[in-house]
């Protein structure tokens, strides 16, 4: 059954109401045997001209009936139409005062922290279109006074909020724009009570030893590392880009910030008395392999890497550099057999590959972390562990089962699945960022499974550095299997679902 419309042609004639009602009755009789007339209030009204009937019937019968109807009668299926609501803002002309510069309107933003302007901070303004609801991002960088002007077209966009990502020593902040034309944003200064942070303590480290991790070699496959004064001990294995290996002196300089942060979490060696945060295992020997080309847009300065370059970097760090552990904080949704082969080859050479599970916001764990041969690491955050209003705080999940009795939560950004082997601290991690001058000692906060993987890598390096049995093992599968067993045995449950935490978080128990 379907609904149909029968109507008589009126465009080229002007029937009298009485004539129309007669026609309507004829049509009603004509179709009575094959369809039910859907009565509406309109048809019963006295003043109804009666040009239209709505029927419900079998399409085959209705089609057969079409031939019997007068030539000036239409019959067609009823078609649904949806309203296109008019929004008064769409048509409203922009106010004269909004047309000051750029594309039409300007928002002035002034960023400061601890009473000083925040210079060279990356600023991203999120807007939504009046029509369609799609979003847009406007980029800017603060000047010497911490000021940036963000321009937009007020006929198209409504600014919703702005993110300020400082280059150093302040928390990143996201704030709403509620019609303001000028914003004064005060960024809370980063904690500076190192060398140990909360992420050290939850991993069982309550006292600092600059030798922790000694004798363990860790490879970092990432965007490059440094320069940073606390990472001057990092050795370069070269850049692996588009199938080639480059070994120039600066080939592993960081093209973004990611790799420097990751390496710092594992093994930064801060100046004595600086109160800057140290790596979890500052005694480790770090070897950097850059696999990102750089030159990407502001939201992803590193540009993307590929399975081939990651695979080659893993093989080189395991075979030629004889790393004990490789940290890979890169992931994607598609599986790569070449990556899986190289991770297996690394295991066979005594190297354990620790991978971030990805920031898929609840989607399945990404590759290569989902490979059975990889140690996939998820992330947890400390409930109430970062200042109110900072960007890292937006990782709180809505699901109650993601909060544990132990004061941790599984953040909303993590990828989820039973392939998760363990978890680590990954929200509001304060670590090194590339320095742009000799006097700079930049630190930034970042969140993600990219941050929890190096925390676990550092914890495992710390444990293995005090394990004489491990150090005496030959560089083969026996060595990597031993490291794997040590890692999982050190894990303590946080009371979260296994899809979020795997076996739990490693706890370093060394004297």
């Amino acid at each position: 059954m379907a609904r149909f419309l029968i109507a008589q042609r009126v465009a080229d004639k002007k029937p009298e109401p009485a004539e129309s009602r007669t026609t309507l009755n004829k049509l009603r009789v004509a179709v009575a045997k094959v369809a039910d007339v859907v009565e509406t209030e309109d048809e019963t009204r006295e003043e109804d001209t009666g040009e239209t009937l709505i029927l419900e019937g079998d399409p085959v019968d209705i089609e057969a009936k079409r031939k019997e109807l007068p030539a000036d009668t239409f019959i067609e299926t009823e078609k649904l139409r949806h309203p296109g609501p008019f929004h008064p803002l769409v048509a409203s002309p922009p106010l004269q005062e909004e047309l000051t510069s750029g594309l039409g309107a300007t928002i002035e933003l002034n960023a400061s922290s601890a009473g000083a302007p925040v210079r060279a901070a990356q600023v991203m303004m999120i807007s939504v279109a009046f029509r369609g609801g799609f979003s847009n991002t406007t980029f800017g960088v603060t000047d010497e006074k911490g000021r940036v002007l963000l321009t937009y077209n007020p006929n198209v966009w409504v600014p919703l909020g702005v993110a300020v990502l400082p280059r150093s020593r302040a928390w990143p902040v996201f704030t709403q724009i509620l019609g303001q034309r000028k914003l004064d944003i005060v960024l809370p200064p980063l904690f500076r009570d190192g060398p140990l942070g909360w992420w050290h303590r939850v991993l069982g480290l309550n006292s600092y030893s600059e030798n922790l991790g000694e004798g363990i070699r860790v490879g970092v496959v990432d965007t490059g590392v440094g320069p940073h004064p606390y990472l001057s001990h990092v050795r370069s294995a070269g850049a692996f880009l588009n199938g080639n290996r480059l070994q120039t002196p600066d080939s592993t300089n960081d093209v973004a910030e990611h790799g420097t942060h990751v390496a710092g979490t594992i093994g930064a060696r801060p100046a004595s008395g600086s109160k800057d945060f140290a790596g979890i295992a500052p005694g480790v020997e770090l070897v950097a392999a850059r696999v990102y080309p750089g030159g990407g847009p502001p939201t992803m300065e590193s540009g993307p890497t590929t399975n081939g370059d990651i695979a080659q970097a893993i093989l080189t760090l395991a075979r030629d550099e004889e790393c004990d552990i490789i940290n890979l904080s890169s992931a994607g949704p598609m599986r790569s057999r070449v990556e899986a082969d190289r991770i297996t080859a690394a295991l066979n050479r005594g190297t354990l590959v620790i991978c971030s599970v990805g920031n898929g916001n609840g989607l399945p764990i990404m590759y290569p972390a989902a490979e059975p041969v990889a140690v996939g690491v998820s992330a947890v955050g400390p409930t109430g562990g970062v200042p109110f209003g900072v960007m890292d705080m937006f990782s709180y999940p809505p699901q109650p089962d993601r909060f544990s009795f132990a004061g941790f939560y599984a953040p909303n950004f993590i990828s989820v699945g039973i392939e998760t082997k363990c978890t680590g601290p990954g929200v509001g991690i304060i670590s090194t960022a590339p320095a742009q001058g000799a006097a700079e000692v930049p630190y930034v906060s970042m969140s993600g499974t990219s941050m929890s993987a190096p925390a676990v890598t550092g914890a495992l390096a710390a444990i293995l550095s005090r394990d004489s049995t491990y150090k005496s093992l030959p560089r083969n599968r026996e060595r990597s299997s031993y490291a794997w067993r040590v890692l999982l045995r050190s894990a303590r449950t946080l009371g979260l679902n296994q899809q979020y935490q795997g076996y739990g978080m490693p706890v370093v128990q060394v004297s």
């Binding site: 588009n242 199938g243 890497t305 695979a311 598609m334 070449v338 190289r342 066979n348």
Partner: protein
């Protein structure tokens, strides 16, 4: 047919069994352009037909797959 990026890698358990000139063999293959090469793997640009023909010629000691993005 559009050219795509492919990774051709010696299977790790076969690294001692593959002929030394395998990269030259790929370089000489028509329809395949080498973008980068190490002693373990090469990155090439090729269309689907060419890569299938090349896979047949190289045999089972190699893994061949499309370039996959990672972030």
């Amino acid at each position: 047919m559009r050219n795509k990026s492919y990774v051709i890698a010696i299977k790790s358990e076969k690294e001692n069994e593959v002929q030394q000139d395998w990269v030259d063999q790929i370089r000489a293959f028509s329809g395949v352009e080498i973008q980068g090469a190490t002693s373990d793997q090469v990155t090439v640009l090729a269309n689907e037909d060419s890569i299938k023909r090349l896979a047949g010629e190289l045999g089972d000691d190699f893994l061949i797959e499309e370039g996959i993005m990672r972030n």
